[in-house]
């Protein structure tokens, strides 16, 4: 599917040097390849004796390309077969590469053109956010959109992106809501200060309509102190609401608010032992501030229908301190403070303290007492373990910088609803159309929408509503939804879009468009890349690219088994995703060589992730640069996200991991297994190891052909469990053997040795990453015809000993990027 097969274009090779090259190649294939891939046998369905000297079509081209790839990788011929000399091999690789390059320029490719591409859900979200100045972190307009089809892991492939009635309906709804949120005709909201002091729980007849968390119960009481202690974990008895807003239905306006909490952490060290579950003695207490929407919620969900985490902080101070944040809150949301790493649910805490810590004198009066208010309150009051202590919570805002917002002005300019008329509405639609299309609208593109608005006006629809309907229509029109980059060499305006969707996942800003309009963008690309990468919007590129390249969504869709307690307790998913993103960002920002992805002896860890990796001494919940010099880990191969995304949350398979390593790091996707192969059945009863099973599997020649390339890559990672923790044994207590032999014959015993072998193959990795980046940049799969451009980029990168930032620049300056 990757390459479109074209009708043969006949070519003549006339020069004598090429004839000699052809003869050499034929002889080489005959001697080294055709015994298994010839008239007698066609292992792996490959046959080379019928390969014509002249490359007549893309099919031939691909077969030759594969030969070159295999020779380069050193995977063919297999090690137990006679090998060509290094010199012969190199010579044939060179001949074939030249032959292929020559064929490229002669074969007419459909390639080079990224098909008219719809914005994917991710880009749509960022685009709506940037165009209308909305906070789309909190409100995701594309939340309910159907999932995009991924091609080669990427969800921005024009061929793969489908448009449907269902999606169009979503566009209508999203556009209507986006415009509603953007419209701000009211007066500039004034800032209000709300204050809530301890106690945070209430009693008596006024509490009738209040959500449960405000009410006194068996595990909540009104303290006699000027502060209130939180005992439970998170929303299980470890959270407090904000009374000043609960009956108001949250804050009246969206915007930036200041939240202040006066708090302390007491009882960090305790001697309750296992009664506190997995709480690590001495850990700081994590206070989380969240914005919650209680509208339409029910009690069993904790009276929260939606929530966003606003901030977290680790507390070790025993004396009260003010903590302050400026955060974005949506209208209708209210703040909530939580004890994120509280040891246990409050209810369970009381039960365990009176059973497992029953010998403590403070609990004596309550032992044997039936579950009652007296018991609950008594035990919690006597308890000396970790408590999050809160005095006061303040909320102040919104702090509005510009009113009305950028988005409002994009829709209405400075017009008031009663100033709108048929003439200025048409003008508004033109301005809005131009902005949202990222290019001047074509003749006839905007007019139908203007006529539609005109007809609504004459039907008697009020002007404001008519204009809004028109803007909605613009946000649902193909001019907005599709990136129309034209054909052939990109014009400057199209280039601006391609560049900004690569680095920002959203439309070009004014600077880019001005440069493009003046015809100066192409000549200032490196400067612009630097500027754009230093803009915070570029995190969309790093996070989204990494997410797609390494299939990090596997982690969310295959949630790890609940048996991995620490995974959930320590919030490892977030930490490990951030580790890999930060690592990529670090390599990019410092323009480090690509080989860092294979062998960097450092990474970005917080305390929990470090402990997960068996590294002691890291303080704090924030990611920080940590040396891995004394660890088995290094580069992507040792990162939690890489290891978790290549497993399924429950167990690991060398085959699945092997394919993952091959695809993600070496750029080679093994063919799917032929139908009806015997399956490999995991067996934890200890009878047969996975290694033995795979060895048996490989006795079958057709299986062996692929598995000798796949399995070693996976076995190298066998010491890592399904969430990337180190293990020396399987569940059945059988030892793990992570040794293996690459198709080239190079063998390794440990993951560290494997990493060195991979580093020897870093050229292959560089090519792989370059191709992935290029594919992401273009929104299409690469074709054989793109190979010369990739070769050129890699050669230049090597020439200047370049790093990741250089690579981005080379891609942006390459021919495929500059044309369509």
């Amino acid at each position: 599917m990757k390459t479109i097969i074209h009708l043969a274009v006949s070519l003549c090779f006339t020069t004598s040097s090429l004839v000699i090259a052809d003869e050499t190649t034929s002889a080489f294939l005959k001697k080294n390849c055709n015994r298994c891939h010839g008239s007698q046998q066609q292992k792996a369905d490959r046959r080379f004796d019928t390969l014509p000297n002249q490359i007549k079509n893309f099919d031939d081209l691909e077969r030759y390309q594969e030969i070159v790839d295999q020779l380069n990788l050193g995977s063919m011929p297999p090690e137990d077969e006679p090998h060509p000399t290094a010199e012969e091999r190199t010579r044939v690789i060179a001949f074939l590469t030249q032959k292929i390059t020559f064929a490229h320029s002669n074969l007419n490719s459909s390639g080079g053109h990224s098909v008219l591409r719809r914005l994917n859900a991710w880009e749509y979200r960022q685009t709506i956010g940037d165009v209308l100045g909305l906070n789309v972190e909190v409100w995701d307009p594309a939340e309910d959109f159907p999932a995009e089809v991924k091609v080669g892991g990427f969800d921005n492939n024009g061929e793969g992106l489908v448009t449907s009635g269902i999606l169009l309906n979503h566009y209508f709804a999203a556009a209507e809501e986006a415009i509603r949120r953007t419209t701000q005709f009211g007066d500039r909201p004034t800032s209000t200060k709300y204050v809530q002091k301890s106690p945070f729980y209430f009693d008596g007849k006024d509490t009738g309509d209040l959500p449960k968390l405000f009410k006194v119960d068996r595990f909540r009481f009104i303290p006699e102190t000027p502060y209130t202690d939180l005992y439970g974990r998170d929303y299980r008895g470890g959270h407090i609401g904000f009374m000043p807003l609960v009956r108001e239905g949250g804050v009246p306006f969206s915007g930036i608010y200041t939240i202040r909490v006066r708090a302390a952490a007491v009882g960090l060290t305790h001697d309750y032992g296992k009664a506190l579950g997995d709480f690590r003695n001495g850990d700081p207490l994590v206070m989380e501030v969240a914005a919650v929407d209680r509208r339409g919620s029910v009690e069993s969900t904790g009276n929260v229908s939606k929530m966003t985490s606003l901030a977290r902080v680790e507390l070790t101070n025993e004396e009260p301190r003010w903590f302050e944040w400026n955060v974005y809150m949506e209208a209708g949301y209210e703040p909530e403070v939580r004890f994120r790493n509280g040891p246990l649910a409050a209810k369970r805490l009381v039960r365990l303290l009176t059973t497992q810590a029953a010998d403590k004198p403070e609990f004596k009066p309550f032992i044997g007492m039936k579950g009652s208010t007296e018991k609950g309150h008594g035990v919690l009051k006597a308890y000396q373990g970790p408590r999050l202590r809160i005095w006061e919570i303040e909320l102040e805002g919104p702090h509005i910088e510009t009113w009305p917002s950028v988005g409002h002005r994009a829709l209405y300019g400075s017009l008031k609803p009663d100033e709108l008329n048929a003439t200025n509405i048409q003008h508004r639609l033109e301005t809005f159309g131009k902005k949202t299309f990222r290019r001047p609208p074509l003749k006839g593109e905007l007019e139908p929408i203007q006529r539609f608005v005109q007809s609504k006006l004459s039907e008697g629809v009020e002007p404001l509503r008519a204009l809004q309907l028109g803007c909605q229509a613009i946000l649902c029109s193909p001019g907005f939804l599709y990136l129309n980059l034209g054909e052939g060499e990109l014009d400057e305006v199209a280039l601006a879009s391609r560049l900004s969707y690569l680095l920002w996942s959203s439309p070009p800003d004014e600077t880019l468009l001005n440069l493009a309009t003046a015809g100066k963008l192409k000549s200032s690309l490196p400067t612009q890349v630097t500027r754009m990468l230093s803009n915070s919007r570029s995190h969309r590129f790093t996070t989204h690219f990494v997410r797609r390249w390494l299939d990090l969504d596997n982690i969310g869709t295959m949630p790890p088994s609940e048996d991995f307690l620490e995974y959930y307790r320590d919030n490892l998913e977030t930490a490990m995703r951030s580790e890999t993103e930060s690592f990529f960002r670090h390599v990019l920002d410092n323009n480090l060589p690509l080989s860092q992805f294979l062998d960097a002896d450092y990474s970005f860890l917080n305390r929990e992730l470090a402990l997960h990796y068996g590294i002691e001494g890291v303080q704090g919940n924030e990611l920080q640069l940590v040396s891995l010099k004394k660890s088995q880990r290094g580069g992507l191969l040792g990162q939690g996200a890489f290891l978790t995304a290549s497993a399924n949350g429950v167990d690991t398979s060398p085959v699945v991991r092997g394919i993952y390593v091959s695809e993600k790091l070496l750029g080679y996707t093994p063919p799917p297994p032929p139908p009806d192969v015997p399956t490999i059945e995991p067996d934890i009863r200890g009878a047969v190891s996975i290694r033995e099973q795979l060895e048996k599997h490989r006795e079958d020649a057709t299986c062996a052909e692929c598995h000798r390339k796949i399995d070693p890559l996976g076995f190298a990672l066998e010491n890592f469990d399904a969430i990337g923790g180190w293990r020396d044994q399987y569940q059945a207590r059988t030892p793990i053997n992570s040794a293996g032999k690459l198709p080239s014959g190079d063998s390794f015993r440990t993951v560290s040795e494997f990493r060195k072998l991979l580093l020897d193959r870093q050229a292959q990795f560089k090519r792989c990453l370059t191709e992935k980046l290029m594919s992401y940049a273009l929104g299409r799969e690469l074709e054989v015809a793109d190979r010369p451009s990739i070769d050129k980029i890699l050669a230049e990168l090597d020439n200047k000993n370049g790093g990741l930032r250089d690579l981005i620049n080379l891609i942006v300056l390459s021919e495929p990027f500059l044309s369509n």
Partner: protein, 446 residues
Amino acid sequence: MLGQRHPKPVFVAFKETRSSNELLSMNPSSNLNRRQLLRGTGIALSLPAFESIASGNPNSDKSPRRLVCVGNHLGFYPGNFFPKETGKNYLPTSTLKPLEDHRDELTVFSHLDHELNGGHKAVQGFLTSIKKEEAAGFPNQNISLDQAAAEHVGSSTRFPSINTGIDGGTDMCWTRAGVHVPPINKPALLFRGLFVNSSQGEREVERMRLKHQASVLDALRESAVALNRTLNASDRDKLDQYLTSVRDVERRLQISNEWLDRSKPESPIDEVLDEDRQHIDEVALFYDLIALALQTDSTRVATLETGLGFRTAELDLGSYHGLSHHSKSEDRIGQLQIVESFLTTKLSDFISRLKEARVFDDTLIVFGSGMSDGSIHSNRNLPVLLAGGGIKHQGHVVCPAEQHKRVPLSNLWLSVLHWFGSEADRFGRSTGTFSPMSIGSSLNNG
């Protein structure tokens, strides 16, 4: 192969499964495909029995045909699902035991699948036979069985289909455009859709919205045409998708308009409120709501999906995904058995419910999974059973297991579609129909 026009389907009715299998294995070395083989033997072929329904228009039927598709992500442990015996007198396996009351009205199949690989990623092919990545290569993309049936129903009911699921479901339903139809996972929302009428005021707002949208669609079409003129052929194909979508929305608008002022049936049960429920309770609740929806003819096509995240902790078991990786551990297989029996018990209750409502004989239920044994992530030999529909059920039908004789599961799906009244001449990867219980005996195929 895809480009070829398929000849008119032939209906295959096995009189007795065992003998048919013997016939099928007569010529194992043959290179003929299964269909040719069936034709060649000339024995297994017979025209379907006509059913005693007169009218050719299902829309005017007094008792219309209905289809319910139920899918589970993590498969059913084969050792506890498939009976050892063939035919009507099979001994119930532990997973089928809860269905004993209905054994005469169901058929279990062995050795049916779509020849897909990919473990979890291929489960979404259960009702489609095609992975979404491959959808572009098929004329109807990866449309699922339920959506194909829903297209046939059109606007005859308020909802062409009702797609429900626990949590996120398992990506089971897909439209002709290759787009996933997400399941409704809130019972209260479904209840409101089925039974709660909107107020006069709300209806007026909705009417205005529909009216505006209709004229917006015209404008968008014109705008697209202007863009279209500047594009090359491949880009135009892409924009065609947009234009098709516009037409699709127009069609939906029309249906919405038609139903806007018709009042909804009265609910025989108290309003289902929005509250946090256990997954195990939601399964029963969704089945009940589906039964009501069928009974009130609010829809004729319904689905229910249970996914990877089904909370087995509510049955005091380990995590479902963890259990499915049983790795032959007896303990885990034992726990899996509890989940799987739970699912078939709820199915059995649903069947009883439909019988009480006297719609069971007009309702065909498809039940199964796009995975067989979760521990090996196999998408082969899928657990599949059919129930109801007033057809001649056969107990346990064992299809040929050999590679070149296998029956594509799509053939069964095609027969189901024919039973439903569709005249489609193929579905997904079908090579013909497959109907050992004469289910292909649709009204239109004489």
